[in-house]
């Protein structure tokens, strides 16, 4: 039972990440490979605020969102001068840079040793410690964020992003400013990822930089590519499928030493197969360009 609750919590955290990234990848049509950066900054900011500054959980979450938003702005402004391969490369560059900083700035982040003993979230004096309580907390956060994102998906902002994605020149000709709209999407997606980071850090109570690597960013992108983008159901299908896939593999009785590699091989093959058979993913509406 605890195992199932754990899976649902992880699915909720990943839904926040992928539905946020969907705004950039699915609506904006921009392949961004740095979502794990914002996830990581959110996790580290919350952890440090709670442990070093002594801020409460809710305040830490909100402050982390703000901090991550500033980072997203700083990364988005140079990155969004580009489209296509150079955009992918610049986001990838920032992914590598932020990871290097998290890993090597030992004074602040304890680097590879990670930060153990992160306090449990407490809201209005009520400390969330038990797994089912945590499930409720995560679901509440995820629910609010998903509603927030769905409203944005359906807003004129979302529609304008889609227009830019389909034909940037034509959309510009109708008065849509590409840079500002894309930047808005990028920052929102980063801020949302920060909340996922806060939830993850206080749930696992231990973080180290290896949770926020390039591989993690790629994994989030793979979820979107497999599930599909540009709507709500695509990322949901992808997240559930790819979070449960390794668990399904576990029932095949693979030894723990080789299981991660087998899983990765499967991811790789699935991506290639999807590019051949269904470049818009299982339930997506947008085809990669």
């Amino acid at each position: 039972m605890n195992y199932i609750i754990h899976l649902i919590i992880m699915i909720a955290i990943y839904l926040i990440l992928t539905l946020g990234l969907n705004l950039v990848v699915g609506f904006g049509g921009l392949l961004s490979i740095c979502q794990a950066v914002f996830y990581g900054i959110g996790a580290y900011a919350t952890t440090l605020l709670m442990m070093k500054v002594g801020v409460g959980f809710m305040a830490a979450v909100l402050l982390s969102v703000l901090i991550t938003g500033i980072f997203a702005l700083a990364i988005g402004i140079p990155a969004l001068k580009f489209r296509g391969d150079p955009f992918v490369l610049v986001t990838l560059g920032f992914q590598a840079i932020v990871f290097t900083i998290l890993y090597n700035w030992v004074e602040l982040t304890r680097g590879p040793y990670g930060i153990p003993g992160i306090p449990r979230p407490s809201i209005a004096g009520y400390e969330v410690t038990e797994l089912p309580e945590y499930l409720i907390l995560t679901s509440l956060f995820a629910g609010v964020i998903i509603i927030f994102l769905v409203i944005i998906y359906r807003s004129p902002f979302g529609l304008a992003l889609k227009a830019l994605r389909d034909d940037e020149m034509a959309a510009e000709g109708l008065g849509k400013p590409p840079f500002y709209l894309f930047l808005g999407a990028f920052v929102i997606s980063g801020m949302v990822a920060s909340v996922a980071g806060s939830l993850y850090a206080t749930y696992v109570t231990y973080i180290d930089p290896t949770s926020f690597t390039l591989d993690e960013s790629i994994f989030l992108l793979v979820i979107l590519l497999v599930g599909g983008t540009g709507n709500l159901k695509g990322p949901v299908v992808g997240t559930v499928f790819l979070i449960l896939l390794p668990e399904a593999l576990r029932f095949l009785g693979l030894p723990d030493t080789i299981a991660p590699n087998v899983r990765q091989i499967l991811y790789g093959l699935i991506i290639v197969a999807f590019m051949f058979l269904r470049p818009r993913g299982i339930a997506g509406e947008f085809k990669l360009r």
Binding site: R154, S155, F157, K162, D166, D167, A171, E172, P178
Partner: protein, 253 residues
Amino acid sequence: MVGLKIKNLSKTLLGMEIIRKVTATFLPGRITALVGPNGAGKTTIFNLICGYLTPDNGAVFYDDEDITGLQPYQVARKGIGRLFQDVRIFEGMTVLENVVTACMPYASESPLFPFMRPLRLSRLYKHARERSCYWLEFVGLYAKKDYPASELSFGQQKLLAIARLLSKGFRVMLLDEPASGLSPIATKKVMATLERIVSEDRDKTIVVVEHNMKVVTEMADWVYFMNEGQVAFFGRTDHVLGAREVREMYLGF
């Protein structure tokens, strides 16, 4: 002076002087045609006006305001719309969404708008849908409004792009080959629409680049004849197209 005016525009791309000191005035209440052989620089002029290219020299004025070097979206927000030669519809949307996205007001496109003004947003959507349906009906695409735009034929996509432009209510419309790829009936319809727009609203300015001389003669009031990046002749349509030099140089009779 009202209207759109370009003054001494020059542009060199990849070492080739595509536009050389072009000066032209496009007045409201009138359909002006840009004609000339391929490579004469007609589309480049549109790109320079709309901000997709920045001129090396010269300036673009709109109602006496210098709009040279503005971003394309800023030019569009001044009320200058553009129909592209290759239609450029939004393929991932339905036909209706294509037009709705065009007629939503700019202020509603802020990410926070739906949270600040939810009621106003639903009113805006309703209004935009009604207006879109009107224009789709007008170009004869109403029956297809819920189809994915990518399933339309080329001619229908062009009509959709025209509907998108009309629904936006631009005061200046720059149309790059509006009639190419359309059936004779659709061509007639588009021409009639454009003529109606300028005759009903003397405030509208329409500029067309068109290869179909029949369309130009029937529709345009004023013609700029371009050759090798320069304006060779301009004047009333019958004067320019009636001139012997133009016929010999371009039309070949």
